[in-house]
């Protein structure tokens, strides 16, 4: 008897796929040359050291090879990527001053509305530049700085110079070097000692131009005993040419501080998302990552936490949904460098319609980290037999005092679970729906409220027939 499969719809993308007419004020030539980098740097009025940094990064980029692991990146042709697209808009603190088409884009994405209801500050980047930034006045009075990276580079140059690409040096990998050469936009956050930012800050990155790259840099410093919740969102409309995202996030969580960094990535299906995120955590500090990867054609994203101070902690919660035409290679890494550090990594991956989801992780415990504890849990759900789901964790443990555990499961929705729920009076469709919702629940409950709607799209399932 022919059996039908469970069908789970892709995320509704219409909202994200609305394109604006390209009204950019300036576009660099496609490709990557010293002249292009000098041009970008001049337009941004970079200090000399930053120009030098960019040029050195270009040298490193030219020396490094593509990674010999992970998804195939051979279709990425840097000669066809426009690395800098300046929108026809100046950075402002008022939505009324943002050009109408750009404002409408962010309206559709719900950013101004969220700003009114649930955020303490907002940054909005359109192509290569931030077009809007705001922060509540009471936070400014407490010394909190939340601005775009270009402004920070000029107004807080020493802080930026001391931290910029110190956690993710250009030599780290080829796309870190690329980022160092052509970075543009992004957010800078500084939370002074003892200040608790109770309401989240959010930066949203929108790439509108076809064939372009976005290379925003996010630098967050949370001083001793301070706390912050930062939300990052990103999307782009779909084009028939490859777009590239090679952002970089550097997070400095000092002693006793706490930072929650939440991301919902919903790039279009022509995007190569090669992003690098890293945090260093001081004594008694806490980094919490909440990461949702739904979009892009190819993703390589593995937030890294360096637990440098004694008793530093990391919590990583991630969900990845790979559908048709997607190869999402995601995960996390943790490096324990001090005694009594601890980490908890929990991920869920779903693959369907030929999508490929890979979970990749690394846990490294150095000799200097006795009594380190780490627990890794990865669950993968496959919704058909044309998709792929791969799990590739690595543990590298030095010393005899670490306590490390790893668990992973892979499979599909079990018939037994469906039958059990049906025996309790639940319809078959609802039973499947409940199981998928339950599968992503540990992640969904960690997401910021404003992203609950987006997550609901994920579990907006359409069920037909019986289990395959």
């Amino acid at each position: 008897m022919a059996q039908e499969k469970t069908y789970i719809e892709d995320i509704e993308r219409t909202l994200y796929d609305i394109k604006n007419v390209d009204k950019s004020k300036y576009k660099s030539q496609s490709g990557l040359t010293e002249d292009i980098i000098r041009d970008i740097s001049a337009r941004k009025n970079d200090p000399d050291w930053m120009l030098e940094f960019r040029l050195k990064s270009l040298e490193v980029y030219n020396q490094l090879s593509l990674p010999n692991w992970g998804p195939d990146l051979s279709e990425l042709n840097m000669d066809e990527i426009v690395t800098y697209v300046q929108p026809d808009a100046k950075m402002t603190g008022s939505w009324d001053e943002v050009p109408e088409d750009i404002k409408e884009t962010f309206d559709r994405l719900g950013i101004p509305e969220a700003e009114q209801t649930s955020l303490a500050g907002v940054g909005a980047q359109y192509d290569s530049e931030v077009v809007y930034h705001s922060i509540q006045e009471d936070l400014v009075k407490q010394g909190v700085i939340y601005t775009d990276m270009e402004t920070a580079l000029h107004e807080h140059e020493e802080i930026v110079r001391d931290h910029f690409m110190k956690l993710v040096p250009p030599k780290d990998h080829k796309f870190a070097a690329l980022h160092g050469a052509v970075w543009s936009g992004g957010s800078f956050v500084y939370v002074p000692e003892g200040v608790h930012v109770e309401i989240p800050l959010q930066s949203y990155f929108r790439l509108n131009a076809a064939g372009a790259g976005q290379f925003e840099h996010t630098l967050i410093i949370v001083e001793k005993n301070a706390s912050l919740h930062f939300i990052e969102g990103c999307s782009a409309p779909k084009y028939n040419v490859t777009n590239l995202h090679a952002g970089c996030v550097e997070l400095f969580v000092n002693d006793g501080a706490r930072l929650r960094y939440s991301t919902i990535e919903n790039w279009s299906r022509n995007m190569m998302n090669l992003n690098t995120k890293r945090a260093v955590v001081g004594k008694d500090g806490v980094i919490e990552w909440v990461s949702g990867s739904f979009g892009s054609h190819v993703s390589m994203l593995y937030p890294c936490s360096v637990l440098k101070g004694e008793n530093a902690k990391c919590e990583f919660t991630g969900v990845t949904f790979a559908s048709k035409g997607q190869n999402l290679d995601t995960g996390a890494s943790v490096i324990h460098c001090a005694p009594h550090t601890s980490a908890n990594i929990s991920t869920r991956t779903i693959s369907k319609a030929g999508g490929k989801a890979t979970y990749r992780s690394a846990v490294k415990v150095t000799k200097n980290a006795p009594y380190a504890k780490c627990s890794v849990n990865c669950e993968s759900l496959m919704l058909d037999d044309i998709s792929r789901s791969d799990t590739l964790p690595t543990m590298d443990i030095e010393g005899d005092e670490a306590d490390i555990g790893h668990e992973a499961t892979i499979g599909r929705i079990s018939d037994e679970a469906i039958f059990y729920l049906m025996s309790r009076g639940v319809s078959e469709d609802e039973a499947r729906s409940m199981i998928v919702r339950g599968f992503v629940e540990p992640i969904a409950k960690e997401l910021p409220l404003e992203y609950a709607v987006e997550m609901n799209n994920l579990v907006n399932i359409e069920l037909e027939g019986t289990m395959g």
């Binding site: 443990i397 892979i410 395959g468």
Partner: protein, 277 residues
């Protein structure tokens, strides 16, 4: 450089972890001792392979329909030797493999095991014991490839590490498309006895088929202090207490070795190492 890649994991990861491949001296790979075995359909066999002197051993096995093989491979090389060994098995329909492997010898060794569950309802149960001490280097790469329907693969690994030994264990469950209703299970328990140890584990699960069940788990930690204190309070020396706890940890593999004398030999070997540490 006089080195050569001996084995690689089926899917590469970050190079900085140093686990993508096992590299050995070319000299070790010059001359291999090959053992080709065919277990005819409906036959049951038992085999013992022992490595006690420097060699590159390759065992190729085909297990016919409804046949079974219990293969015990013991690597008890002297401490000053390097060693590589390799097992390749193909299982036909309803064939069964029980592999008991013990890797306790050699200064530096690399082993690779590739088991293909080709026939429907074939099953492989793999039990591995490894023990590292001194400055020994242990490198293992085990792959269970599920091709047939309703295939079953279990990989249970028990390890003990002390001194400044370094170990990499890679265990892969690879569910190929079409391996419907296959079940795979992998477990590695490592007991770490010294602060100078480096312990790397790579439990990989690859799946191109949704109708499978795959699980893997790894735990790594020091020997249970409460157990040690209890045993020492009963008059055992620290070495004796550790040996007893380790023996209990290794028992699931040791008890599968049919030959009592060999079991005693391995037991004595580990005890001696613990006492010399």
């Amino acid at each position: 450089m006089n080195k050569e890649i001996f084995s690689e994991i089926p899917m590469r990861t970050w190079n900085w972890l140093g686990v993508n491949e096992a590299v050995v001296d070319k000299d070790l790979l010059v001359e291999s001792q090959n053992l080709d075995i065919k277990i005819e359909a409906d036959h049951q066999e038992k085999m013992l392979v022992e490595y006690r002197k420097e060699s590159y051993g390759i065992v190729n096995i085909n297990i016919g329909e409804n046949a079974s093989l219990k293969l015990t491979q013991l690597q008890l090389m002297p401490q000053d030797c390097d060693h590589v060994n390799e097992i390749n098995v193909v299982l036909e329909k309803k064939a069964r493999l029980q592999l008991v492997a013990v890797e306790t010898g050699a200064k530096s060794f690399a082993s690779k095991v590739n088991i293909i569950l080709k026939g429907d309802k074939s099953q492989a149960d793999v039990s591995l014991l490894y023990f590292g001490d001194g400055d020994r280097s242990l490198d293992m790469n085990y792959v269970l490839e599920f091709q047939g329907r309703k295939t079953v693969g279990n990989l249970e690994v028990y390890g003990g590490l002390m001194g400044e030994s370094q170990k990499i264990f890679r265990g892969t469950l690879d569910f190929k498309q079409g391996s419907k209703q296959a079940k795979g299970y992998e477990k590695e328990n490592v007991v770490v006895l010294s602060s100078g140890v480096r312990n790397r584990s790579v439990p990989i699960m690859l799946s191109g088929e949704d109708d499978v069940v795959g699980n893997h788990a790894v735990s790594s930690g020091k020997i249970n202090e409460d157990k040690l204190h209890y045993l020492m309070s009963r008059g055992l020396s620290p070495a004796e207490a550790r040996k007893l706890v380790l023996e209990a940890a290794f028992n699931p593999v040791l008890e599968l070795i049919d030959d009592e004398a060999l079991r005693q030999e391995i037991d004595s070997y580990i005890k001696e190492r613990l006492e010399n540490e």
